[in-house]
C-alpha cells in the first residue's frame, strides 16, 4: 500500500497506555472474579479486559496489535468460554445433579466456586468476542467476494479506509517496524494470556 502514510505514533498516548493497560487488565480480571460479593461479573470484566487490547491498538496501531495477538488465543477465548460454561453445566449431570446444578461438584463450597468458574467462562467469551468484533470492524475493508482486491473499494475515502488492507503481509507494519518502541510495546508481557 503505497498510499498509506507512515503511522506517526504519539509518545504521550503510548506512555499512558503502557502505564494504564496493566491496571485495566488487572481490574478486568478482578471484576470478573469478584462478582460474587460486589458488583461485577463476567460480562463487565470481559468488556474491561477487551478494552486493554483496544487501548493497545490505539497506541501502537491496529495492524501491529493484530499481528502481535496470537489468533489461537482469541479463538480459544471465544470458543473456550462457551465450552467452559457448557462443560460446567453438563459436568453437573455427571456428578448426579441436573444441568447447571453446580452445587453437586465434590469441591469445597461448590456453589460459590462453580458460579465463579461460570463467570470466568462468560468473561472469556465476552472478551474474545469484543476483541474480535473490534478488529473485524477496524481492520480491513474486505473487497466484494469474487472480485479482485482493490477495485471494489477505492472509489470513496481511500484515506479513510486504507487502514483496511487485509493482505497477510501487512505492509503497514514494515514501515514502522524499524522503530523500537512500536515493536517493544505490544510485546510487553501483559495481555497475552488473558485466559
Amino acid at each position: 500500500m503505497s498510499s498509506r502514510r507512515p503511522y506517526v505514533e504519539s509518545p504521550v498516548i503510548m506512555a499512558t497506555v503502557r502505564l494504564v493497560a496493566p491496571f485495566v487488565l488487572t481490574y478486568g480480571i478482578f471484576v470478573t472474579l469478584h462478582g460474587a460479593s460486589s458488583p461485577g461479573g463476567g460480562f463487565q470484566g470481559g468488556v474491561i479486559a477487551a478494552a486493554v487490547i483496544i487501548m493497545l491498538s490505539f497506541a501502537y496501531g491496529i495492524d501491529l496489535t493484530w499481528e502481535w495477538i496470537d489468533k489461537r488465543v482469541l479463538v480459544g477465548l471465544v470458543g473456550g468460554g462457551v465450552a467452559l460454561f457448557g462443560a460446567i453445566a453438563l459436568g453437573a449431570v455427571l456428578f448426579g445433579g441436573q444441568f447447571l446444578e453446580v452445587g453437586v461438584y465434590p469441591i469445597p463450597e461448590p456453589d460459590k466456586y462453580g458460579i465463579e468458574l461460570v463467570e470466568v467462562g462468560i468473561g472469556m467469551t465476552v472478551a474474545g468476542v469484543v476483541t474480535s468484533l473490534f478488529f473485524t470492524l477496524a481492520r480491513g475493508a474486505m473487497p466484494p467476494v469474487g472480485e479482485d482486491g482493490e477495485s471494489g473499494r477505492d472509489d470513496e475515502g481511500t484515506a479513510a479506509t486504507d487502514g483496511g488492507t487485509f493482505s497477510s503481509e501487512a505492509p503497514g507494519s514494515e514501515e514502522t517496524g524499524g522503530d523500537g518502541p512500536v515493536r517493544d510495546g505490544p510485546d510487553a508481557p501483559e495481555g497475552g494470556d488473558r485466559a
Binding site: 460480562f43 470481559g46 471494489g152 470513496e156
Partner: protein
C-alpha cells in the same frame, strides 16, 4: 393526569427516549446514525426495566442475610445481559453497514435506494 405523570417521571423519559430513537431510525438517512437511534431506543427500554426495579429507600441487592430493603435484582440481571448482547448486535449491524458500503459505495439510505433502482 399531569400529577400521575409527574410521579412516574422515569416512565415519561422512557417514552421520550423511545420517540427520539424512533425519530432517528425513521428520519436519518445515514445508516450509522440509524444504528445509534436503535441504541437510544434500546436504552429507553433499559430505563423502563431498571425503574420498575427501584423501591424507595432500597439498597443494591448485595446481602448475606436477606434483611433490609432491596431493589429487585431480577430486572438488573435481564438488563445487564441485554447491554452486552446489545453491543454484539450493534457490532453486527455495523458490520452490515460496512458491507453495504462495499456493495453500494455509500452509507446513505437515499443513495443506496438510488443505486438499487438504477440497476
Amino acid at each position: 393526569m399531569i400529577e400521575a405523570l409527574f410521579a412516574r417521571y422515569n416512565y415519561v423519559v422512557f417514552a421520550l427516549l423511545l420517540g427520539i430513537g424512533l425519530y432517528i431510525v425513521i428520519d436519518d438517512e445515514n445508516l450509522v446514525k440509524k444504528v445509534i437511534g436503535l441504541n437510544v431506543f434500546q436504552t429507553g427500554i433499559f430505563l423502563f426495566f431498571i425503574t420498575v426495579a427501584v423501591q424507595d429507600g432500597a439498597e443494591p441487592a448485595v446481602t448475606s442475610t436477606g434483611e433490609g430493603t432491596f431493589v429487585n435484582p431480577l430486572p438488573h440481571v435481564l438488563i445487564l445481559t441485554a447491554i452486552v448482547v446489545g453491543v454484539s448486535l450493534t457490532a453486527l449491524a455495523l458490520a452490515l453497514v460496512v458491507r453495504i458500503h462495499e456493495e453500494y459505495g455509500s452509507i446513505r439510505e437515499d443513495v443506496v435506494v438510488e443505486v438499487l433502482e438504477r440497476d
